[in-house]
């Protein structure tokens, strides 16, 4: 199997889908001439030309709206946000037009658009440029939210997202673009709404996704294993729709759940997971569900405070020990 970087995997997905379907095009800031702020669209302008790869002004509301309109009349746009922080400027287009058009037009219009770009904190980018916003998108009915954690999933899920007839929020990470991983040979897709058990375990279930899964949760699971606590780690891959049954099945086995996410605690994705698990597998729980999130503050710029605010291996270990009643 070939080994590629996360950005190459995304690039392949877009390239293959553009070859497969001439309605697919890419639009965003610096995606064409500069080959992408993070080089995800490297070479695409050269290959597909300026009618399929569009540079835009710094006007997110405008080009997000163009994406929605283009999707309504039959194209399949990929709208890149340089980071998801800037999508807040376009939130009205996404939450009101993209998400609701199909419903409000009585099914007359579909909006097969993909909004993609990096989300979450990188390093020292301060409060307005470090946000994990999956919860506020998953909150809106009509949007699907996809958050791959590795190159294989990134490629397979982006291809599925492009083919989906609904608006899909596709959140990557600046610090994952260089991550390398094996991907299957040739054409493949991964369905939305299907999670993956990335580590088998018996003592606790940890649900985690995207960057924190790789950089925090799996490392914590290794440390816990040294202490004899075997964590089962689930990567849902898609936040909405969520693979509930996979989580329920795991909790029925381990009787304990910790959710690790980079977003804030209040009304976070973990809050919803906690509710669903409490409601559906209550009688299997041996401890209240624990969550590890970013602290409930704007992310500080200062490095020490930034580290203190984000989820960490230590915080995950502490949460797991709480639910397993070990001290």
């Amino acid at each position: 199997m070939p080994t590629v970087s996360f950005r190459e995997a995304l690039n392949q997905a877009m390239d293959e889908e553009m070859a497969r379907d001439d309605r697919v095009f890419l639009m965003g800031e610096e995606v064409a001439q500069y080959n992408g702020a993070y080089k995800v669209s490297q070479g695409l302008l050269q290959k597909w030309g300026p009618k399929r790869i569009w540079d835009t002004p710094i006007a997110e509301a405008g080009f997000a709206g163009i994406g929605v309109g283009a999707a309504m009349v039959g194209l399949r746009p990929i709208i890149e946000f340089m980071t998801w922080n800037f999508s807040l400027v376009a939130y009205d287009q996404i939450a009101n037009n993209a998400a609701k058009m199909h419903s409000m037009s009585g099914g007359n219009f579909s909006v097969p658009v993909v909004f993609r770009g990096p989300g979450g904190a990188a390093h020292n980018l301060a409060a307005t440029h470090s946000q994990a916003l999956e919860a506020i998108y998953a909150h809106i009915p009509g949007l699907k939210v996809v958050m791959p954690s590795n190159p294989r999933d990134a490629k397979g899920l982006l291809k599925t997202a492009i083919r989906d007839d609904n608006p899909v929020i596709f959140i990557e990470s600046e610090v994952m673009y260089g991550d390398r991983g094996e991907i299957p040979e040739g054409e493949y897709t991964i369905p939305l709404g299907v999670g993956e058990v990335v580590r088998q375990g018996s003592d606790v279930t940890i649900v985690s996704w995207s960057k924190v899964l790789q950089q925090v949760t799996l490392k914590a699971a290794d440390r816990l294993a040294e202490e004899g606590i075997n964590a089962e780690v689930i990567d849902p891959r898609t936040i909405k729709p969520m693979d509930w049954e996979m989580i329920f099945e795991s909790v029925r086995k381990t009787n304990r759940l910790v959710v690790v996410e980079e977003g804030w605690p209040f009304a976070g994705v973990g809050a919803q997971i906690s509710h669903e698990v409490t409601k559906n597998v209550f009688d299997y729980l041996d401890a209240p569900v624990e969550r590890v999130t970013q602290e409930d503050v704007p992310l500080p710029y200062a490095h020490n405070l930034e580290v203190a605010s984000l989820p960490s291996v230590e915080k995950v270990i502490r949460a797991v020990k709480t639910v397993t009643y070990r001290s």
Partner: protein
Amino acid sequence: MATKVAMPKLSDTMTEGVILKWRYKEGDKVKQGDTLVEIESDKADMELEAFDTGVLRKIFVPEGGKAAIGAPIAIIADANEDIQSLLKDTAPAKPPAQTPPVAARVPAPPAPAPLPTAPPAAPGDGRVKASPLAKRLAVENHIELRSVAGSGPQGRVVKRDIEQFLAAPRSPFAHAPSPIVEGSSRDVELSPIRKTIAKRMTESKQTAPHFYVTVEVDMEPAIAFREQLNKVYESKISFTDILVKACATTLMKHPLVNGSFLGDAMRQYGYAHVAVAVALDEGLVTPVLRNCEQKGIARISEELKDMVERARHRKLKPEEYQGGTFTISNLGMFGVDEFIAIINPPEGAILAVGAISEKPVVRNGQIAVGRAMRITLSCDHRIMDGAVAARFLQDLKAHLENPVSLVSIE
């Protein structure tokens, strides 16, 4: 967080406990799950685990001292925590100098449980804290959550506590028989259950003046009734099941039989908790079927099967073989015609049941082959007289000979 350690309720009849040994002294650090103290109840010596981690700041009851159930015996808190408020509202403990135990004044075995089901006693606010999983496991394994020491925060019962509880030897029946060398003799130490039987039966026979009344019951109707029932119910109904229901129904009309002698008073029960004697290799146990007056025969049958099964696997909990108001002992399956039983204190009566056997009977002036059973009631003369017992048996016989009267048709 500062917490009081309370005297736990370790048996059905326990009202107070004696501190045998503190495993820690004041000022020692204790960890949740450590054995904190050894306590003697009226039944056994038990170890009490610490529910919280901290420092043993105060011991209220010294070794040899007594405390009532629920009374504080110690405080566990952080090293520097202010425990003044806890100290203030704690009454001084009884000194080790012991008042004569209740049992010595009342010439009866341990006092029976109060009329309503005994109130639960648990540390803290009295509510048993348990994880949802632990609750489910407790139900599935027929465990009373109160009897499980919780190791989670604030004594929460969690999965591992249930697992440990199930893994621990559940009853004191542990003496496996081995062959005696021919021509020799040997002394075998009594198992705890044998000791209990020896003590209680001696007490019963020495303190309760027994008298016995026997009747013969025509069992043809009950046999037909059982055959009809077993066409309807998949799990077979036994004669014992029918007897339990018949006794419960009859007991409710004869409170003098359904009672206990208390010295200057007699207690009459407004419910029929019927104990059924089950022979095990280690000795007799009497699982108690509660509130049989409210239960149908099928339910009684189901519960009895379950309890007998668990009794055989030593899975019965103390509260499941305590608290009966009446006992049935059936030796019919051994072909015994009739026998007399010793009252199971603090109950007032016990019914000894013989085999159903073919007998010549007179029907419509003709001698025919009938099937009959002899039952003998042993009674505590202190609370009832012969006529009371006879009327009880008359009623019981009437129910058994007209068993449809045991079926609720409302």
